[in-house]
Symmetry: C2
Subunit: 319 residues, 2 copies
């Protein structure tokens, strides 16, 4: 049985068909427009294109799943709000089903990512999984007992908006001191900038001149790998924040495995070996009850697409 997923991002709508091994065997992509009606119609058309490239029609799939960086209510089928597009309470599932002749599932992108990684990625075969995505924001997806958990009303699992430093840095959500304000790419860039201001001798300044002049998630990690002391301090501080956030989540969920994805996780072993060393002190009674492994997510940008196509396997849509 083939599956079809739609990954609606801020700049592009990506669609893909997966075979039974969850390999993406056909893709299509169109730019994301701003009108809701247009986006709905484009999603259906892009799905049809991906299917058509291998001689299939939408009717040939058991269902179609959509992931989007928005607050989704899986019970009503509504996209409740999206900061990218400023939509509020739009009937996403209902409108899509006017264009797509099979059942439609809709989910948050971080929820889709953890489903993708659990079905076919770094947590394959696991029943209790916590996934953190270190990207522009901090995404979180949770699998409990083999099912997606996204809060009792489907609009939670927002670990990025739990406190890390009470009263601390401003968060995109309007509150202060959220984990996201420190563990996101925006947080890392802020910490990097502050360290560069304090350390004019740091190799990070030369690195910027060689790159395009903008601080990115790589600035500190690349310079730390090359031995720069100030960059090393940035990485150390950043990973301490991440470890404290993940440790707290472990104390609540006690998953079998923690997956870390998102652009920052591309720093690879350099990041994971340090993170693992820091984690122990934040895990409650970890010396007695153990600490789950923290692994790199492996599907990369495809996690959301694969997970969207598998939403029906793990998402409850009836209360």
């Amino acid at each position: 049985m083939f599956r079809l997923g739609i990954d609606m991002g801020g700049t592009a709508i990506k669609t893909g068909v997966m075979d039974e091994e969850m390999q993406v065997i056909s893709r299509h992509s169109v730019p994301t427009q701003s009108s809701f009606e247009q986006v709905v119609s484009d999603m259906a058309q892009a799905a049809r294109e991906a299917a058509g490239k291998i001689g299939l029609r939408l009717e040939d799939f058991p269902c179609v799943g959509v992931g989007t960086p928005s607050c989704i209510n899986p019970y009503t089928g509504k996209l409740v709000f999206s900061n990218n597009t400023n939509w509020r309470n739009v009937p996403l599932r209902e409108e899509l089903e006017k264009h797509i002749p099979v059942p439609v599932y809709i989910g948050n992108d971080a929820d889709c990512a953890v489903i993708g990684e659990t079905v076919a990625g770094g947590a394959k075969g696991k029943r209790d999984v916590l996934m953190i995505t270190l990207g522009t924001g901090v995404g979180c997806g949770i699998i409990l007992g083999g099912k997606l958990f996204s809060g009792a009303d489907g609009m939670g699992a927002e670990l990025g908006h739990t406190p890390l430093i009470y009263g601390g840095a401003e968060c995109t959500c309007g509150s202060r001191g959220c984990l996201e304000a420190y563990a996101s790419l925006l947080g890392l860039i802020r910490i990097t900038r502050e360290a560069m201001d304090r350390h004019p001798e740091s190799a990070m300044h030369r690195y910027l001149a060689l790159e395009e002049g903008e601080i990115t998630g790589k600035t500190s990690f690349e310079c730390a790998k090359a031995g720069d002391a100030a960059a090393n301090e940035v990485v150390d501080e950043y990973l301490e924040y991440v470890a404290n956030g993940i440790g707290g989540a472990i104390n609540v969920f006690r998953p079998e495995v923690v997956l870390v994805g998102g652009g920052i996780s591309n720093a690879g072993e350099f990041l994971f070996s340090r993170l693992e060393k820091k984690l122990g002190k934040y895990v409650f009674a970890g010396d007695i009850i153990g600490c789950p492994p923290v692994r790199r997510a492996i599907l990369g940008n495809d996690a959301g697409l694969v997970g969207a196509a598998c939403l029906d396997l793990m998402q409850e849509v009836c209360k």
Copy 2:
């Protein structure tokens, strides 16, 4: 059908029989000894006494439940560790079943409290409940879809040991800046002491002289109620911490209701009306998706006893 619960605390083992309306109709209590074998035997004997007072034997109950302020693994039946008694990995269920002729369930005290409140207290009839106990520590119990959730391995739901202030005050768990270090009675007392040091004019000094000279959870709340400015600042700061912690938990769990119990909750309406006002700014997109009500737990000290007697209704013991 009557039910029998055992609440093993640091100073006393309390047992009780409940009728079908979950009213405690018979009680017995004995002091908590230090040896594991003695405690096991005392628990069984105290259960027998409570039953005997109304003419029943242990065989007349479908099961017996035990709550204890310890880390419990419901799958193995072991008490994994207890800071009070310093026990490690003791086979609590197995040993109790040598003395008790019906199935025995064991659970953490905060887990029992939320079960009690959900079966017969402030969250009666709800399926998704978050309960926070503001006592010596910060306890947390979570009901998801009508079942107890205490982490994938049964040893989580430790919201008290999630971060509130990265690198902040020392916590009893060995880490720093945990919610428990600020929202517990110990945290409140520390904040109160610091404010008293800064404010020699505060009525809190006179309040202490009238009481037994020791700062308690009442010192700040009683003086704030009476209009003392420094005490008011203490209460305000304390409740801001509590609100940030609860807000973060709402962002993850999105429960139908949040219950607050424990000794500090006895401050009543004065506490709850302020807490509710503070909560809004910590709930992610609360203006769009709403904020669950925060209510006072109503069973008081009996919550753990009632919940222990009902563990079989809500605790999964097989994976």
